[in-house]
């Protein structure tokens, strides 16, 4: 920036130069007079020989290189004056752009948090997750068994250390306050040291604290500490009951410590010694983290991970066949686990389209205005302004508009981030992410870049076209000539706008339709009126089957007696929160355990079928007498019967479900299909049911209830009913299955909602743009319409030719848009796990039709108005 000090003292440099010139002349005059030349002639000769002082002055100024800056400042001042003189135009352009920039910056603020921000760890780029992969089973980020973890930790050369975490455990938290179920993580004692995160209070785990006798220590999350322990600064050293055992609180983690991909409210040491049982290799439950050794890079670590997995495969082919391993940076692991990239790219594409449509609108406005400004520009050109200078002038005006739009857009984005923070608060994990959404530095840089980009997009074509006009022709013909509206530029802009809006509107509608089909689809049960609550029978007192049964039956009966409850059941899982088990069918070839088929598995009481309204198509439903001592029975659903008993009657056949006490059970009934997951259609999802009294005891059980009234009013009553049987029983949230779906998929619904908003915005912007352009075009043709009317044409004769061109342009744009949108359902299916959609034809035809109707109105209204004009009035301008 060496020119800057020169620039700042340019006034002095210039006056010095002027003085120098003067002295030069005076010296020369003095010399000449010494030679005897009379004074007056000496002055004249000196000046003549010196030449054009002003010219030399300018050349000297240019040497210092600030003239470009001064002319730009002139252009800026001129541009600002032009914008001030046309407040209407300026406001429309700036607001249009501000809308486009606001939605872009808002969505990018989420991108910044989800995809750009580094995870909470020291030197986060050196921390990786080691994941198991299996091409045959399509596992891309599998978890790792304890045996593999131990072997890798001992043998690797790429990492300073490896740590493991088991994120699946839900702890029963009892003692002071309501008993609750809370997500926690069991981690190896080196976990926090490896991440390099210090506790907010107290200490983290020490080596050896994973050993029995020392391992009853717990770290709290900041949120849990605030909520349940009232932010007690002396909390370290106190005890808390976890799964009915006493744990000592040793510390609190800081608020910013957000666990990658998992919500954890507390951490306890992970004891790996119990994982040496035979068959434990198949139990892949651990996430493994490593810190790269100095000098080791991701490639080397990847190669080594694959080599370690290959070694394990040689050592134990039965369980390890087909499994390999790779590393992902902690950040990448979190992004892939959160599955936010697809949604974010979709939203960014949507807001990108909105911005492009906004740019097209402004470009059209500029083109139209350029027509009016041709005279001014012709005069400037005639006075010697080069084309570059004219283009620069026009572009500078675009940049000024962009600046205005960007500042208004940022204000809008600020409001947008507030809205998003509220929308993204449907569960604790998302809330922890959402509170950090702000207009941070990446967002500001992004805003700057898109503003400049937008200015170039909407400014360049009009600037080039307007400046290309021949000044002679313009000046000769007066104000009315130089028609810019007839040109590829405008047609392209209008057509592209309609095509883009069509794509976005169809895309948004497809996503909405997908969500609607999922949410209001036919589940086979009434998701809005089935309430479920998880109870965890982790307490040692429930190891006694009789007490366990008494509690479940008691709680279910109490819930069933509540007013507004039609039926109450017991189950080990509920739709949208259930698991699979492998099974064998008697009489069919017996496969090795790892190749046996899997089906969704429920252990339920007879009432649960009534709660979910599952019809028994053949055979009978369970009875209370199907208990521990009686013959084992099972029910399968229709999808199961069709897939695994193709054509045969399953009733009376036997299946064996794999769990801790596998035994053959007779199939006594065939149930109707219900939807139990958002990723499988109900006719393709085989289910099997066993009486929960014949199934092995599950710690995690659910109370289910079908309600008739408002489910929300029953929440408290259901909790009280359970606590009236056991006041110390921790219970999860009481909610409907619709609520459960919403909690799982609320992110998708927010995404769909945003898409809908953007689609609508695109539609409005496109309509406004088309309206403006057409109105302007028709206005230009008022004269022509007037002549036609004067010659005896009726409105019917006059309007069609005007309409035809615009409508055919709109049709072409819409057709292009539909063609571009055709692959979207397939694309969404590939991008989003569980996205499926039945009715697409309606969307592909209905929404472009709406758009075309808007375009037609935009064409018709100004055209009709023009046709109403008195022909005499129109011709008077001639």
């Amino acid at each position: 920036m060496s020119w800057l000090p020169d620039f700042l003292r340019r006034g002095r440099i210039e006056s010095e130069l002027a003085e120098e010139f003067r002295e030069h002349l005076m010296e020369k005059v003095a010399d000449l007079m010494d030679e005897g030349v009379p004074e007056a002639e000496a002055h004249a000769r000196a000046k003549r020989e010196f030449g054009n002082a002003t010219h030399y002055h300018e050349v000297s100024r240019e040497v210092w290189g600030w003239t470009w800056f001064e002319t730009i400042m002139q252009d800026v001042r001129y541009g600002a004056r032009m914008l001030r003189k046309n407040p209407g135009f300026t406001a429309v352009a700036a607001i249009t752009l501000a809308l486009g920039i606001a939605v872009n910056s808002t969505i990018f603020s989420v991108v910044s948090v989800l995809l750009l921000r580094k995870p909470a760890a020291a030197d986060p780029d050196r921390v990786v997750a080691l994941v198991a992969t299996n091409a045959r089973l399509a596992v891309a980020r599998g978890r790792v068994s304890a045996a593999d973890f131990r072997a890798w930790r001992a043998a690797n050369h790429s990492f300073t250390d490896l740590a493991a975490a088991d994120p699946d455990h839900i702890f029963s938290l009892t003692g002071a306050g309501d008993p609750e179920r809370t997500a926690g993580m069991r981690v190896t004692t080196n976990y926090f040291d490896l991440l390099g995160v210090a506790p907010f209070l107290g200490r983290t785990f020490q080596p050896g604290e994973d050993q029995p006798g020392r391992n009853h220590v717990v770290l709290l999350s900041y949120g849990l500490w605030q909520r349940r322990f009232a932010a007690d600064p002396n909390v370290a050293g106190k005890t808390v009951d976890l799964d009915d055992e006493k744990y000592e609180i040793i510390g609190v983690m800081p608020a910013f410590f957000r666990q990658v991909a998992y919500l954890a409210r507390l951490w306890t040491p992970l004891d790996l010694t119990g994982n040496n049982r035979p068959g434990a290799r198949d139990n892949r439950s651990l996430i493994v983290f490593g810190r790269l050794r100095p000098g080791a890079d991701a490639d080397r670590a990847n190669a080594e991970a694959a080599a370690l997995a290959a070694r394990a495969e040689q050592a134990d082919a039965a369980s390890e066949k087909g499994w390999s391993a790779k590393v992902l940076t902690l950040q990448e692991y979190g992004i892939q686990e959160d599955q936010t990239r697809s949604a974010m790219s979709l939203l960014m594409a949507a807001v990108g389209i909105v911005l492009l449509i906004a740019c097209a609108n402004i470009a059209n406005l500029l083109l139209a205005r350029g027509t009016k400004r041709q005279q001014e520009i012709a005069i400037r050109t005639a006075l010697g302004a080069g084309r570059n200078r004219v283009v620069r002038q026009l572009l500078l005006e675009s940049f000024l508009i962009a600046l205005l739009g960007a500042s208004m857009g940022l204000a809008g984005a600020y409001a947008g981030t507030r809205v998003l923070r509220n929308a993204l608060s449907f569960n604790e994990y998302v809330t922890a992410m959402a509170v950090t959404i702000s207009l941070d530095r990446p967002v500001l840089i992004y805003t700057l870049v898109i503003s400049i980009g937008a200015a170039l997009i909407f400014g360049l074509v009009p600037a080039l076209r307007v400046s290309a006009a021949d000044p002679q022709a313009t000046l000769r013909q007066g104000g009315r000539a130089g028609d810019l509206r007839r040109g590829w530029g405008r047609n392209l802009l209008v057509g592209a706008q309609i095509a883009l809006a069509t794509v976005l509107v169809i895309g948004a509608s497809l996503m909405l339709q997908g969500a609607a089909e999922e949410l209001w689809g036919d589940f086979g049960f009434d998701a809005k009126h089935v309430m479920v609550v998880e109870v965890a029978l982790t307490s040692p007192r429930y190891r006694d089957p009789a007490r366990r049964e008494a509690f479940l039956r008691g709680a279910s009966t109490k819930i069933g007696q509540l007013p507004g409850v039609a039926a109450a059941g017991i189950a080990n899982g509920v739709p949208f929160n259930s698991g699979h088990r492998r099974f064998s069918i008697q009489g069919q070839s017996d496969l090795p355990p790892s190749q046996r088929p899997r089906a969704r598995y429920f252990a339920v009481n007879p009432e649960d079928f009534r709660v979910l309204n599952i019809p028994i198509l053949r055979g009978r439903v369970f009875r209370e007498s199907d208990a521990a001592g009686s013959p084992r029975v099972a029910i399968v659903n229709r999808a199961f019967a069709e897939r695994f008993f193709a054509g045969q009657n399953p009733l009376g056949r036997y299946i064996r479900v794999e769990h801790s006490a596998p035994a053959w059970s007779e199939i006594i009934g065939i149930a109707g299909n219900i939807t139990a997951s958002d990723s499988v259609r109900k006719d393709e999802d085989p289910h099997m049911y066993e009486p929960h009294l014949q199934a092995p005891a599950d710690e995690e059980m659910w109370m289910t209830a079908r309600v008739t009234g408002d489910p929300n009013s029953l929440t408290r009553a259901v909790r009280s009913a359970i606590w009236s049987v056991d006041p110390n029983q921790p219970i999860g949230d009481v909610r409907t299955i619709a609520g459960l779906i919403n909690e799982n998929d609320a992110g998708e619904f927010v995404c769909d909602g945003l898409l809908a908003v953007f689609g609508l915005l695109a539609l409005i912007l496109a309509a406004v743009g088309v309206y403006g352009v057409v109105e302007y075009a028709v206005e230009q043709r008022t004269h022509e319409i007037g002549i036609r009317m004067a010659l005896g044409g009726g409105r019917r004769d006059v309007l069609p030719p005007v309409l035809a061109k615009e409508v055919s342009l709109a049709l072409a744009g819409a057709a292009l848009g539909i063609a571009a949108a055709l692959p979207l359902p397939k694309l969404f299916f590939a991008m989003f796990n569980g996205f499926r959609i039945q009715n697409t034809i309606g969307i592909f035809l209905a929404f472009p039709a709406v758009l075309l109707a808007v375009v037609f109105a935009a064409v018709y209204i100004p055209a009709a108005r023009a046709a109403r004009v008195d022909p005499v009035e129109a011709l008077r301008y001639e």
């Binding site: 010139f21 005076m26 010296e27």
Partner: protein, 98 residues
């Protein structure tokens, strides 16, 4: 190059510089007085020259230009490349000797 060479002999102000160049070239090279100044500004900006206000032989306040060390280096570079160029031209112009 001529300006730098001239200033190497001692600081001068603009008018004097023009006169000296004209005289030392035996009036062969007439420098256009005005166009000297843009050149001076260019060299000032490049740091080859320094300028300060002084007094001329006629007791007028004038800006006196002085060559800087960077200017000397530049001059040497230019002179050597100029010499090479001259030598090249001379060889071409000289009738073949071999």
């Amino acid at each position: 190059m001529m300006v730098l060479q001239t200033l190497r002999r001692g600081p001068l102000h603009g008018y004097a510089l023009a006169q000296v160049i004209m005289q030392s070239s035996g009036d062969l090279l007439e420098i256009e007085e005005g166009s000297l100044y843009p050149a001076l500004q260019r060299m000032l900006k490049a740091g080859w020259l320094a300028a300060e206000w002084g007094v001329s032989s006629r007791n007028r306040r004038v800006r006196v230009y002085r060559i800087t060390p960077a200017g000397r280096k530049q001059l040497e570079r230019q002179v050597s490349s100029f010499d090479r160029m001259l030598e090249g031209i001379a060889r071409v112009m000289r009738p073949a000797e071999s």
